[in-house]
């Protein structure tokens, strides 16, 4: 054992060394959990797009037909307050469904498959410039902005962008440390505490995501996929049947009106 080296270290130096290694460990853990969370979010986002494009649009079309039916009925009985209200409600629902599916049409629909190098880069970014490892508010904001960019780049699979974020950070004055052991010690203790707080928040976020309807639907869909079933297509074709029935009904109402 090298006793000389230990003797040469002051107690705060020893403490700093201990804290730094504790910090390095927690920093790695934090980066990994951030990666897991970003991955789950990206997967859920893409699944949502897929759902909205296959099933959501059909629901919106069905809602539109239902609104037209309700409105046709309302026109036939202009003095029936209840029927008027129903027509308004149906129209609102149809509008909301149309809006909800509108922007999903423009998004690329793919399965989220991040490469190993992309994951590694993201972990590196999360480790170096995690907002919760900032020492002051100004730095935190700066880190937050870069982290948001990194999240977007990760979801888009943009390795070049992640690399440029990383180098931007390395060259910024915020990344420079210093000012003596005592300050450094305080800084590292605070960073550890912040990282622990964030880790806890990540777990809560995970639990929340896993409780969501979207997550449940994704799990069920993927399980069925393993057995060669496509639940989203099954749902969509069911909705198509419903739409055929609704169209018939609408035509009947229109004919009825002509007779009267």
């Amino acid at each position: 054992m090298n006793t000389e080296l230990i003797k040469n270290q002051t107690p705060e130096e020893q403490e700093l060394k201990k804290k730094l290694s504790e910090f390095a460990e927690i920093q790695n853990e934090l980066a990994q959990r951030e990666l897991d969370l970003a991955t789950l979010r990206a997967e859920l986002h893409l699944f949502e797009v897929r759902y909205l494009r296959t099933v959501g649009v059909k629901l919106a079309e069905l809602d539109e037909l239902k609104a037209q039916i309700a409105e046709a009925l309302a026109r036939q009985k202009p003095h029936d307050q209840k029927i008027q209200e129903q027509a308004e409600l149906a129209r609102t629902q149809a509008q909301e469904s149309a809006e909800a599916t509108g922007s999903a049409q423009d998004t690329k629909e793919e399965k989220f498959k991040p490469s190993e190098s992309l994951k590694k880069l993201y972990r590196e970014v999360a480790k170096r410039l995690h907002p919760d490892l900032a020492v002051d508010e100004k730095e935190r904001l700066q880190r937050q902005k870069l982290m948001a960019e990194a999240n977007r780049a990760y979801e888009e699979g943009d390795e070049a962008k992640l690399r440029s974020i990383l180098s931007e950070w390395e060259n910024s004055p915020e990344s420079v440390k210093g000012e003596g052991i005592a300050t450094e010690l305080i800084r590292v203790i605070r960073k550890i505490a912040q990282a622990k707080k964030r880790l806890h928040a990540i777990e809560i976020e995970f639990a929340k995501l896993e409780e969501s309807d979207l997550y449940k639907m994704k799990v069920k869909t993927e399980k069925a996929e393993d057995e060669g079933r496509d639940l989203l297509s099954e749902l969509a074709s069911q909705l198509e049947n419903d739409m055929t029935i609704a169209k018939k009904r609408l035509a009947e109402i229109a004919r009825g009106k002509m007779q009267t």
């Binding site: 099933v55 309807d213 060669g228 749902l235």
Partner: protein
């Protein structure tokens, strides 16, 4: 001034995003409800398993089935016998028939059928093969049992349809599930931490144990004894049979269950030894306590 304007603008964007998210979550909720309905409908369906390592064949046969089978049948296609066995065990009460290719990587179709005949003798099976000739099939032991049919590849769709309908119709006629054997309940008296620990790991292993009690109707004598060596952190270091039951389904499923349970919870602190060897007795009625 421009700062305020920016804040207003970004608040507007945020509130738009939020309201869009709410509208979307409404659609997602309806989707989930739809899927739950599909699932409960599925639970009432009869399942035909098609196992073939050729994806085109799976697709063609699946589509064909959906054309001539009534709505209450659902086809599940598996790329190997191993995968088919997984589906089988998961939906065992819904299986109407199994159609399998013979030569596949891993377990062959004939071996798969042999397994079905041993444990689920009431399930009709159809073997298809381009290699095997009709007389070679007739010489196989599986051909001796009723409800096992053979189709020579290339498959003639009319013949396939005729045979599949025949086996399903026949199964419907003599479909009778005997009652499950009454399961024994033994109440263990636990007091020491290690006893509590043992009952906890028994519970966890039972959860991972994929196995059907009905397979062993009437066979109460089967027993497999597995010993597992557990390290203080709960890691399973070694698993071995002290006694095999002689029934490969029981033995293998028990071994897999233990393997899947790794790691177990850490050993109780009071148990001051470098490892814990514990014997577990697997029987058709579950883990013996």
């Amino acid at each position: 001034m421009s700062d305020e304007h920016d804040i207003e603008k970004s608040e507007l964007i945020l509130s738009n995003i939020r309201s869009l998210a709410i509208k979307r979550s409404g659609l997602v909720k309806r989707g989930l409800e739809g899927i739950q309905k599909l699932e409960s409908k599925f639970d009432a369906l009869q399942i035909i398993i098609i196992a073939d390592d050729d994806p085109t064949m799976r697709e063609v046969l699946g589509e064909l089935c959906s054309k001539f089978l009534p709505d209450k049948y659902q086809v599940l296609s598996a790329g190997s016998a191993e995968e088919a066995i997984e589906f089988f065990l998961k939906h065992e009460h819904q299986i109407a028939a199994v159609v399998t290719n013979h030569i596949m990587p891993g377990i062959t179709g004939a071996e798969f059928i042999e397994w079905i005949q041993e444990f689920f003798p009431h399930i009709p099976t159809v073997l298809n093969s381009g290699y095997l000739k009709q007389e070679e099939f007739s010489n196989l032991s599986i051909a001796k049992k009723p409800d096992c049919r053979f189709i020579k590849k290339p498959i003639h769709f009319d013949e396939f349809q005729k045979i599949l309908i025949e086996v399903i119709e026949k199964k419907k006629l003599d479909n009778s599930w005997p009652d499950e054997g009454s399961s024994k309940t033994i109440k263990p008296k636990v007091s020491k931490p290690i006893d509590l620990y043992k009952s906890e790991i028994a519970r966890q292993i039972t959860e991972k144990w994929v196995f059907s009690q009905q397979v062993f109707r009437g066979r109460t004598d089967l027993e497999a004894v597995l010993v597992i060596k557990i390290l203080p952190n709960g890691e399973i270091r070694n698993i071995w049979f002290e006694k095999k039951s002689g029934n490969s389904y029981l033995d293998e499923s028990a071994f897999k269950a233990v393997k899947k349970s790794n790691p177990l919870p850490p050993l109780p602190k009071e148990f001051r030894r470098p490892f814990y060897n514990v014997g577990l007795v697997f029987t058709p009625y579950g883990l013996k306590k």
